[in-house]
């Protein structure tokens, strides 16, 4: 067993584990982390297949950019957005699993039934222009220049689209300072809300502040963390530092 094979088996198994972890985790954040894990393993596999540029890009673009974007959105949507495990569409899970197994079986069956005795390897292709990156550059800016230019249009469009979608129209006039003051006075809580983590055991933003009577102040938490905090407090009672 040579080095490549060792790398393949380790990273391959890791990648599969990561993928499975993604679909099994109840919480979206965990899923995102599992995906990142899979992608790093895939990047390693790219490296071992003489695709240094792609491996790097994989890490930078996927684990670096895309997955971070996912996490940002998760923060907006709410980290608490975990699935309930009860399937709402009748038979979806069973049929989906069976179908996926059948599909995977067919895929593997057809892949393995093809004999690929000779592997040309990329040594020559890479050396033609120096290195792998130079070879790719030659292709991208030569043979595939048009496609490359089109992707730029695609990216611009996507950026514009995201802006349009995420943009929120203001339906009412901006509140004046006087109005804000009146609301705040009338809300029954004229003073600023307590900060999270105050007097608690740790200073995470996800930890509710403790009030003088020892109860947690839900008001201190950002909206996104309220559910988590209540979940945590239900599972383990908050220890109060005396």
């Amino acid at each position: 067993m040579n080095g490549e094979q060792i790398v393949f088996w380790i990273c391959g198994i890791f990648a599969v584990v990561g993928a499975l972890g993604m679909i099994i985790s109840r919480k979206a954040v965990h899923s995102a982390l599992w995906v990142a894990f899979t992608m790093i393993n895939l990047a390693i596999l790219y490296f071992s297949q003489q695709a240094a540029f792609l491996g790097t890009t994989q890490i930078v673009v996927y684990t670096g950019a895309v997955m971070m974007l996912f996490l940002f959105v998760l923060m907006i949507v709410g980290v608490d957005s975990s699935d309930s495990l009860i399937e709402t569409i009748k038979g979806q899970r069973l049929i989906g699993t069976l179908l996926a197994l059948a599909f995977g079986g067919l895929l593997l069956g057809s892949i393995t039934s093809v004999a690929r005795p000779t592997v040309v390897g990329l040594d020559k292709a890479n050396e033609d222009y120096g290195t792998n990156i130079q070879g790719l550059a030659h292709l991208i800016f030569g043979k595939y220049l048009l496609a490359f230019e089109v992707t730029s249009a695609l990216l611009i469009t996507a950026a514009l689209g995201a802006m349009v979608l995420a943009h929120r129209e203001r339906w009412e006039p901006r509140k004046t300072q006087a109005e804000q003051m009146r609301e705040r006075t009338l809300s029954g809580h004229p003073t600023p809300l307590p900060n999270p983590g105050v007097l608690a055991r740790n200073n995470s933003v996800a930890t509710a502040a403790l009030l003088p009577d020892g109860t947690q102040s839900q008001e201190s938490l950002p909206t996104a963390f309220k559910a988590i905090a209540s979940e945590d407090s239900a599972s383990k009672p908050n220890e109060v530092t005396q």
Partner: protein, 619 residues
């Protein structure tokens, strides 16, 4: 000039129907004027015609090309020859008299204007029928008189019986009309033309089977319009219409259109012995059947209707005898038109005086209170039973004689018919004008007004002298000879024997009726313990029952079966297919459940399927 004959009454009908209530006060005068002017035009044309030699008397008038499609050319043309002229004078003459009579008869009817409009419409349609120069145009007139007949029978449509009678006449006439349309179509396909002249010229070359078929189709048409067996049932019910209508349409003119049709198409019948035989048989059956029905009717108009059937049977029979009989058929048609119209008008006058009661058992002894009616009716009576020198004698005797020349059985039928005619007419006479009075309470018979009696008197004069005039002054045989051809029958029995025998039969029929109904009291309510024959005659020889059993009930069942098949079979199939598709779609619709993941599942299924197929293809 010829077109004016039709145009004038048509104009009258149009004005009256479109004029509305404005014409109420003078509408009937307009109608009479139109009919009368049409008559005068007819007389003028007659005088013109007399001035020409026999060969040049027939004149045509081409008005316009009606239908011109490829080889199918139908002109809108009129053809006035000696035969048409007879009809023109009869229709307009008798028609005008009846128009005048109607002024009095319909005096109190709120819809008098409409009545006169229909009468004018009828006159126009009937004139078109007899003046057309081709069968298709004749068909137009044929349907026109059918329409007028329908409208006038059900003129008092508030009476359900009248409405039903009109509908019945219309439907039974449709059966005959199918015959006429078949005949016209057969003529076109076989002979390539539908004009009288063209058909007459080409008939000789046509295949004999087709010619016979055309003859039968024409006979069917004649049966429908002339109330001949087996399409006779409508005529008795048609008496629901006002009496002038019965006199004009259902006695004198329209019902004789069948006779006209057969004689007009004599070229066809001359070529087909089978068709002629059928015509004779139908005529013989109907003349006996009509007379038979007439013997038992207590309704004076229905009695006369039976008589009309019978007399038209004579004409049809004569027409079926071929060239020997054509002239006498027309002769009898003309005399019959005169005396039967007179009889009907007399019956109308009696009804008028008896508060519209038509039951003869409520009459009796009217000769004193309705003298003019009695006299005119009596003269008509003498004419119809064939007493010389009255009109009916001359024509009927000729038919009997010609029938004996053809076949003893047919001759015997006409002879018996003459006897029975004498019986029922004497019965009618006796029950109405003789015996003791059996009037209902509060009925005070009185003579009708002059406007009604004057036409009756004129017709009575016609009943007396019509036969003599036509035979000796008008010389009808020579007159019609260019149109129909004349053949003198071989007389196996000489006239010297036949005339006394006929008169003897007539006298015995009349005498038997006289002893039975004039010398013995007539029960006011019709006796019920009567022979089966009387019962059959009262029930119109079960014509309706037979129609009902043979046509209506199976038709009803057939319709029900078809309806059932339509509802269950066809609708079921169509409905089932659509329901199946609908149900399937409703289920397929459920696939669109809005869940993205379900769609993704379907996509994956498709992808798996494609992978599977690719794998299969490669293995």
């Amino acid at each position: 000039m010829t077109a004016a004959l039709i145009g004038l009454p048509l104009l009258g009908a149009t004005l009256l129907l479109l004029g509305g209530r404005r014409t109420n006060t003078w509408g009937h005068f307009l109608a009479v004027a139109m009919s009368a002017s049409s008559f005068f035009v007819g007389v003028a044309l007659y005088i013109q015609m007399l001035g020409r030699s026999a060969e040049e008397r027939a004149v045509g008038q081409h008005l316009f090309d009606w239908i011109a499609v490829g080889t199918f050319n139908v002109p809108f043309g009129l053809h006035l020859d000696q035969l048409s002229m007879c009809f023109v004078l009869l229709i307009t003459g008798v028609g005008t008299l009846i128009h005048i009579y109607s002024i009095g008869y319909m005096e109190h009817d709120p819809n008098r204007r409409r009545f006169f409009a229909y009468l004018n419409l009828f006159v126009a349609a009937m004139l078109l029928l007899v003046l057309a120069d081709n069968y298709l145009l004749l068909y137009v007139g044929w349907e026109g008189v059918g329409l007028a007949s329908y409208l006038l029978i059900s003129f008092w449509q508030h009476k359900p019986s009248a409405a039903v009678a009109g509908k019945k006449a219309f439907i039974v006439n449709r059966v005959g009309d199918v015959g006429l349309s078949l005949a016209v179509m057969l003529m076109f396909t076989t002979l390539g033309t539908v004009t009288f002249q063209g058909v007459a010229d080409a008939a000789g070359q046509g295949p004999s089977l087709k010619i016979t078929l055309i003859g039968f189709a024409l006979l069917l048409a004649a049966c429908g319009k002339s109330a001949q067996f087996p399409l006779q049932s409508w005529l008795l019910d048609a008496m629901e219409g006002p009496t002038p209508v019965s006199a004009l349409i259902h006695a004198a003119t329209m019902v004789t259109a069948g006779v006209y049709l057969i004689i007009r198409a004599h070229a066809i019948f001359d070529l087909s012995q089978d068709a002629r035989t059928a015509v004779v048989v139908i005529g013989a059956i109907t003349l006996l059947l009509g007379a038979f029905i007439g013997t038992a009717k207590d309704d004076i108009k229905k009695g006369l209707a039976g008589s009309t059937m019978s007399q038209i049977g004579y004409m049809i029979l004569a027409a079926g005898l071929g060239p020997v009989g054509y002239v006498f058929a027309i002769f009898h048609l003309l005399t019959h038109g005169l005396f039967k119209a007179g009889l009907f008008l007399g019956a109308g006058s009696v009804m008028h005086g008896m508060h519209d009661d038509v039951n003869m058992r409520h009459y009796g002894a009217l000769r004193t209170s309705m003298k003019i009616t009695y006299a005119t009716f009596g003269l008509g009576f003498l004419a119809i039973i064939g007493i010389p020198p009255f009109a009916g004698f001359w024509s009927k005797d000729e038919i009997i004689s010609a029938a004996f020349g053809q076949n003893y059985l047919v001759g015997l039928a006409t002879l018996i018919g003459a006897g029975v005619t004498a019986f029922y007419m004497t019965r009618m006479m006796a029950m109405t004008f003789f015996g003791e009075s059996r009037w209902e309470d509060g009925v005070h018979p009185h003579e009708s007004s002059t406007v009604m009696t004057a036409p009756m008197m004129i017709l009575a004069v016609g009943s007396v002298f019509g036969g003599l005039l036509l035979k000796f002054v008008g010389d009808i045989e020579a007159w019609l000879e260019p149109v129909t051809g004349v053949a003198h029958p071989t007389h196996p029995i000489s006239a010297a024997v036949l005339i006394p025998v006929t008169l003897l039969v007539v006298a015995s029929g009349a005498g038997y009726a006289w002893t039975k109904y004039a010398q013995r009291p007539v029960p006011v309510v019709a006796p019920t313990d009567v022979s089966i024959l009387t019962r059959a005659a009262r029930a119109d020889a079960y014509g309706d029952a037979i129609n009902e059993a043979v046509f209506m009930r199976p038709g009803l069942h057939l319709t029900r079966a078809l309806t059932w098949f339509d509802a269950k079979g066809i609708d079921g199939t169509i409905g089932g297919v659509s329901a199946a598709i609908g149900g399937l779609s409703a289920r397929a619709r459920r696939l669109q459940n809005g869940y993205t993941r379900s769609y993704a599942l379907t996509m994956l299924g498709g992808a798996a399927l494609i992978a599977f197929v690719l794998l299969l293809a490669r293995l």
